[in-house]
């Protein structure tokens, strides 16, 4: 569990930690959006320098980001391969049935690889520097307009925050159950793949049972503490929009302009 970097929060005091979660979320999504308008290498260089700058600002070691990419590397390489093998155009180096390795294919494969890695880097920057609870609060805020369509935004956000709140408890519980089953003689990570999967059953069954019991208890607590779905609630957690947040969005506009200029160079 400790290997997973995506979705993790690392406490810190960098400028990015201080930024409002809404600003980071908007800027992040916007960056991923404009990424698809980059057509040539000058544009990619600009976007990469921006990505590195942001990563540097976060104060988190570069290695951490590399670790974040690692679990996804096969997915990325698979996509790149598809792109390389099935794109025709330009000089053709190899041809076999529908499979062609062409100049255009290789170029767009490389672009896709860099695009993918950039998306992971940027989203990792956001989750590493933002408390999950602030992120849910930001999602809550940004989803608010959907209330017109009768989407229960408040309930979704409280669900998200409670789910996040109980992740450590569930991990603890999993560990406890695993220890208990080990004490009873279960061996994990041994035998064929099928056998390994079978040893997971005595973990998941008790885990499901205890989670359901926990859920009922939590629901009772919430009800007793006066939580009524559909009722108006105030919020103790306040997101504060500062000038730095506005500035970060202005930087995004500059980046867009820069990107458009770079696209016209070649």
């Amino acid at each position: 569990m400790n290997k997973l970097i995506i979705g993790r929060y690392l406490p810190g005091t960098s400028l990015l930690h201080i930024l409002d979660a809404r600003a980071k979320l908007i800027a992040g999504f916007y960056f991923i959006f404009i990424l698809f308008f980059a057509e040539d290498w000058p544009a990619y260089i600009l976007l990469w320098s921006f990505t590195f700058w942001v990563m540097h600002l976060s104060g988190v070691h570069f290695k951490t980001y590399i670790r974040g990419v690692r679990p996804l590397i096969w997915l990325i390489l698979f996509t790149v391969c598809l792109q390389v093998l099935f794109t025709a155009g330009g000089e053709i180096y190899f041809e076999w049935g529908p499979v062609t390795i062409s100049q255009f294919g290789i170029v767009s494969g490389i672009y896709i690889f860099f695009r993918f890695v950039m998306i992971i880097f940027i989203s990792t920057v956001i989750t590493l520097t933002t408390k999950p609870i602030d992120l849910t609060e930001a999602i809550h805020f940004l989803l608010k307009p959907l209330r017109i369509f009768k989407i229960p935004v408040e309930e979704i956000s409280i669900m998200l925050s409670i789910a996040l709140r109980f992740i450590p408890n569930l991990l603890d519980e999993t560990q406890k159950i695993m220890d208990a089953q080990k004490a009873r003689g279960t061996e994990f990570g041994k035998g064929s793949l099928f056998q390994q999967m079978k040893t997971l059953v005595p973990i998941f069954l008790p885990l499901f049972v205890s989670s359901l019991n926990r859920a009922e208890e939590v629901a009772n607590v919430m009800e007793v503490r006066g939580y009524q779905p559909n009722a108006r609630r105030s919020s103790f957690r306040k997101l504060r929009w500062k000038w730095a947040d506005t500035l970060s969005l202005v930087i995004m506009i500059f980046l867009t302009v820069g990107l458009l200029i770079m696209n016209t160079i070649v």
Binding site: N220, V221, R225, S235
Partner: protein, 274 residues
């Protein structure tokens, strides 16, 4: 609604309850008792005697088949239960499952958010409550960094922030070590006398029960005795008695001339020093 001072704050009349309507065994049958404002009442009984069911009924989580419950002047039913819950809070046994917020201050604020309280007022109430239980320095901590005792403190702060009239403790101190148990009991005693709190504690801990004003003993779903700790401990001999009572019984067995009734810690010390 203005309360007449002679009217009890909680009145339970002839309450019967069974979980399974098909079976004839009642979890609770014909329970009658009342609690005065500012009183500390302990409910004791063995496992399966119906203690926690009684708590569930007082909170409106379960609906009794017979009888009525009146709390703070409201007769408990589907419409009034939200009004009653504004005046009554409960601390459960498991410290983790009642921690809803993601940090200490968020959790204390949870109940206030549900009341749609404005931010400034909320902030005041939250910090006040955290000071009362001595957890202010931990206000930004998340639950994984707190001990069981600290989480129970936060749970109590969450209730105090609501400024309730009644506090229900459902085996709230079971998971705590003796020292935090003692500290918390002291804090509650202090709060009770300062704010005229009514406390109902459901417990196995006879020392906790001994510090109450009155004890209700449940046996197989009925009240087997009710009275001051003195009366109850000298009458109910099959319970694990609090330390002073055990000492008294042993001394009595050895033929010492001890008084025949239960003594509190101070009384015992006084008597021993004679």
């Amino acid at each position: 609604m203005v309360l007449d001072s002679t009217n009890p704050i909680i009145e339970v009349k002839d309450v019967s309850f069974r979980y399974d309507l098909r079976s004839s065994t009642e979890t609770l049958s014909s329970i009658n008792f009342s609690v005065q404002k500012g009183e500390w009442v302990a409910i004791i009984g063995n496992n399966g005697s119906g203690k926690s069911t009684l708590a569930g009924i007082l909170l409106g989580l379960y609906k009794p088949q017979f009888g009525s419950v009146t709390i703070a002047g409201y007769e408990l039913n589907e419409e009034t239960k939200w009004e009653i819950r504004k005046r009554m809070g409960i601390v459960f046994q498991n410290p983790d499952n009642q921690f809803i917020g993601s940090t200490v201050e968020d959790d204390v604020a949870f109940g206030l958010e549900n009341l749609n309280m404005p931010y400034e007022q909320m902030k005041m109430r939250v910090y006040e409550a955290l000071h009362m239980v001595d957890m202010y320095d931990y206000r930004h901590a998340d639950p994984t960094r707190l001990s069981g005792g600290q989480k129970q403190r936060v749970a109590i702060a969450g209730l105090l922030a609501l400024q309730p009239e009644i506090l229900l403790l459902d085996e709230a101190f079971v998971m705590l070590d003796p020292k935090s148990r003692k500290d918390l009991l002291k804090t509650l005693q202090k709060l009770k006398s300062r704010h005229q709190l009514t406390i109902i504690s459901i417990t196995h801990d006879m020392n906790e029960a001994a510090s109450s004003d009155r004890i209700i003993v449940l046996k197989n779903g009925t009240i087997s005795s009710i009275g001051t700790p003195k009366e109850v401990f000298s009458k109910e001999l099959d319970f694990e008695a609090p330390f002073t009572e055990k000492l008294r019984r042993i001394l009595q067995m050895k033929g010492r001339n001890v008084p025949n009734t239960y003594m509190s810690e101070e009384e015992m010390v006084e008597w021993l020093w004679k």
